[in-house]
Symmetry: C2
């Protein structure tokens, strides 16, 4: 039995050519713990709706560019190195307000599902 | 009550100056669903041990550079855009074998914890 699965997504810049500028990893890698999207969106891109979640916490990590995440009506500025956790019940949308493409990763996983992490979950072998 | 939390990690390149070239998000953002590390490691960097997990699935996403993840003795080449899921029980270590820094994100979350995702977990609002 193979204990891993790998996919090559190509250059992160080229994700801009895909539908909505994103690739999802859950189905691609048969994940069982989270969904992950990797996003490269052009100048002026805006998700044209707000959404919230039923169970899942979301974490946005910005790799490149500048924008705004609007969370429950608050405009939260983001740029390279911004890391934002959003609780399931919060309304959110994201916009690229910079002059270049914006790259970000979004992770969703079930709130309160993590029982242990780091050294508590690891064993040297 | 504020439904989000943001931290500024700074330029991803500068993470190379931190201990082990990594920053962890769980404690920083009070995550409840996963642990996330963002890593920028120099040429020649190698994690000097193998480890496995008790509960948590890991996903590595390579942002920049070239290297190898060794999984149960198999050398798996990685580069920009490589996405690798590793089951909890697999032994793993990672090495930067390229000529420049390597940047990658590692997410760990409890295997089989995700109940729904995407549209099934979302509501427009």
């Amino acid at each position: 039995m193979v204990n891993y699965q790998k996919e090559e997504l190509g250059k992160l810049h080229d994700i801009i050519k895909l539908e909505n500028g994103k690739v999802f990893l859950h189905d691609l890698l048969k994940l069982t713990s989270c969904e992950i999207s990797i996003n490269t969106v052009p100048k002026g891109f805006k998700v044209p709706f707000n959404h919230k979640h039923k169970q899942n916490e979301e974490i946005y990590i910005v790799l490149k560019g500048n924008g705004i995440i609007t969370i429950d009506g608050a405009n939260v500025p983001i740029n390279e190195g911004s890391a934002v956790k959003i609780l399931p019940s919060a309304s959110r949308t994201i916009e690229n307000t910079g002059n270049d493409e914006m790259q970000f990763i979004c992770i969703q996983a079930k709130a309160d599902s993590l029982e242990q992490y780091g050294l508590d979950d690891a064993e040297l072998c």
